[in-house]
Amino acid sequence: MNLECKHVWEHISGYLDKQLDAELLAAVERHLESCEVCSAVLDSTRNILVLTADDRTYELPLGYSERLHGRLAAVIGRREP
């Protein structure tokens, strides 16, 4: 199976999530070995996902937990669940 670039792009997510079947995976990997463009697309997408999942990208505001439990305490004190 020989894939063109645009077909490889359709499988970037499946590749990153390890969801491609064996035959497709082999074809995608073969293409990636020889294609700088698709390798760069893959690397850039993967790096963005790592940055996205990093806890430093989305941080909690200072004092968030205290304010949350403070408000909950007020509610819990006067209502049955």
């Binding site: 997408t45 989305y58 909690l60 669940p81």
Partner: protein
């Protein structure tokens, strides 16, 4: 078989329902971040997200007896948080329209990535830079809503496909399709910016993924 944590959680829920209200604090403590970040990533507004997270937890407390225990508690919580985020988004949208078009599911939308050849590795330290964080958050907010929701749960919260599908009330195939499109749109939005942020070659990412 349920994990020890899940059993403990079920016991906590039962005790809260039996009247030990104060145990609700313990029940939700592991999910404080999940709820806030989910809402913040959708809205990108700190004050709204904090208020929304508080409302989510209060609503969870008030509706706890309707939790059936069929889904995971965390999934149920995410569903409530997502509804809270949607509600607030509706209000915010009354004034302004979405920044990007919302392409039809099977339509001819452009979900191709940005093409480049000289990609350089991004050092993780780059995240310390406020602008990069800001740019990432901004790009996520630019995604059309249905793609953003899937992206937030899968790639920010790192829920699995099944949990994401359950929380959003869609099937797993749709989760996959939307996630792929979201990632390609983000790649296109972020690559031009990230390239300029990444002077160093090699290093962390290559080692990490090999």
């Amino acid at each position: 078989m349920k994990t020890a944590a899940a059993t403990n959680e079920a016991a906590l829920i039962a005790r809260v329902l039996a009247g030990e209200n104060e145990l609700f604090h313990e029940l939700i403590r592991p999910y404080e971040r999940l709820v806030y970040v989910t809402i913040f990533a959708i809205l990108k507004n700190e004050a709204e997200a904090e208020d929304g997270a508080q409302e989510t937890m209060i609503s969870t407390f008030r509706n706890l007896k309707s939790f059936r225990g069929e889904a995971k508690f965390s999934t149920w919580l995410v569903t409530i948080a997502m509804n809270e985020a949607r509600k607030r988004l509706r209000k915010a949208k009354a004034a302004a329209e979405d920044s990007l078009d919302d392409p039809a599911e099977e339509g001819e939308g452009d979900f191709t990535p940005a093409v480049l050849t000289d990609w350089r590795e991004i050092p993780l330290e780059a995240l310390e830079r406020k602008e990069l964080k800001e740019k990432l958050q901004e790009a996520v907010k630019l995604l059309p809503e249905k793609y953003r929701e899937v992206f937030v749960l899968r790639d920010i919260e790192e829920l699995n496909q099944e949990e994401t599908a359950a929380a959003l009330g869609i099937n797993v195939t749709l989760v996959k399709v939307r996630l792929h499109r979201a990632r390609m749109m983000l790649q296109k939005l972020l690559v031009p910016y990230l390239k300029n942020q990444a002077p160093a070659r090699g290093g962390f990412f290559r080692r990490w993924f090999q």
